[in-house]
């Protein structure tokens, strides 16, 4: 699998993501500069976490207009696979490649802690190593992860089975009204969503920071392993 990570000014989890990808693919991903206008030949484009443009104005708003984004849209339209994590998710929503928006966390504070995600479908390249209902732990670290969309969009997401992950308790129970379970207050406890063709996935937490037992576990690794299985040519 050939993966590339897009680096915007202010992206800061590109190294974490590179480690995770290297761990499962055995080779270093390409680093793509926001100012480039063409992607190299890739199977997977990753928009990593961080504070692109300082997260000023709105998280991801300015990065969504970076020069490279035109080719990323083309890549998406051609059926390419894209993973957006944290700021990357925000950028994908700002760019209109995924529906909805991410508002300030309900408690209005930055949250850096572990959370638990329930896997909502297991037939996508991003989730195929899990079974529906599996729960895994992952760190989250963001100030604006409160997923929101108008009710038609939410209905379309739910009806189309396009929620990839929900915040849950360790036992798998989902309680969107409980800030301990759904820490940022997301609608329906949505932590990650999929595009219509299931080839673009955006999520707030950081599975890439939990791929090494030394850092506390490998709970995030199946996501990357699944991508390799699905996308290897």
């Amino acid at each position: 699998m050939k993966a590339g990570i897009v680096v915007f000014p202010g992206t800061n989890r590109e190294r974490d993501m590179a480690i995770a990808l290297r761990t499962v693919t055995g080779r270093a991903p390409a680093m793509i500069w926001h100012h480039d206008t063409a992607l190299p030949d890739l199977d997977l484009v990753v928009l990593a976490g961080g504070f692109s443009y300082g997260d000023y104005l709105r998280c991801g708003a300015m990065a969504a207009h970076a020069p490279i984004m035109a080719d990323i849209r083309r890549f998406a339209a051609a059926g390419g696979h894209i993973l957006g994590v944290c700021n990357g998710f925000q950028i994908l929503t700002e760019a209109g490649l995924l529906p909805g928006a991410l508002l300030r966390n309900a408690a209005l504070r930055f949250l850096s802690q572990d959370c638990y995600l329930r896997v909502e479908r297991d037939d996508t390249p991003f989730t195929r190593k899990w079974r529906v209902g599996d729960v895994f732990r992952t760190p989250m670290a963001h100030g604006d992860g409160n997923y929101i969309a108008d009710s038609d969009t939410i209905r379309a997401l739910e009806d189309g089975n396009r929620v990839a992950f929900r915040y849950a308790r360790p036992d798998g129970r989902v309680d969107a009204g409980d800030l301990r379970t759904n820490p940022n207050g997301s609608v329906n406890a949505i932590a990650g969503v999929l595009s219509e063709n299931l080839r673009i996935c955006g999520m707030m937490p950081h599975p890439e920071d939990l791929v090494d037992p030394l850092m506390g576990g490998e709970d995030g690794k199946p996501l990357f392993e699944g991508l390799v299985e699905a996308l290897v040519r």
Binding site: A61, L103, L108
Partner: protein, 80 residues
């Protein structure tokens, strides 16, 4: 010309910041405060002399970048 773009969350979108401020005002002893909504203002110095043209330009910037129309509305006004 100076144009001010005001961006507010759409009606119906929950505004936790506004809610928190309303609560804090109440705690500080300010009575009679109903709903509080918080938004952003962006003041642009534009190289334009015609107010209508300046507003048009600001509108385009708001649609293109300054507001996220999924969740926000905006208004523009020429202030100087």
């Amino acid at each position: 010309m100076k144009v001010r773009v005001t961006v507010m969350l759409k009606e119906g979108v929950l505004d936790p910041q506004g809610k928190a401020v309303a609560h804090a005002l109440h705690v500080l002893g300010f009575a009679g405060v109903g709903e509080v909504r918080i938004g952003r203002v962006i003041e642009l110095d534009l190289d334009e002399t015609d107010p209508a043209a300046a507003r048009d330009k600001a509108d385009a910037m708001a649609r293109g970048l300054l507001a996220n129309l999924v969740i926000e509305d905006f208004t523009t006004e020429v202030v100087a």
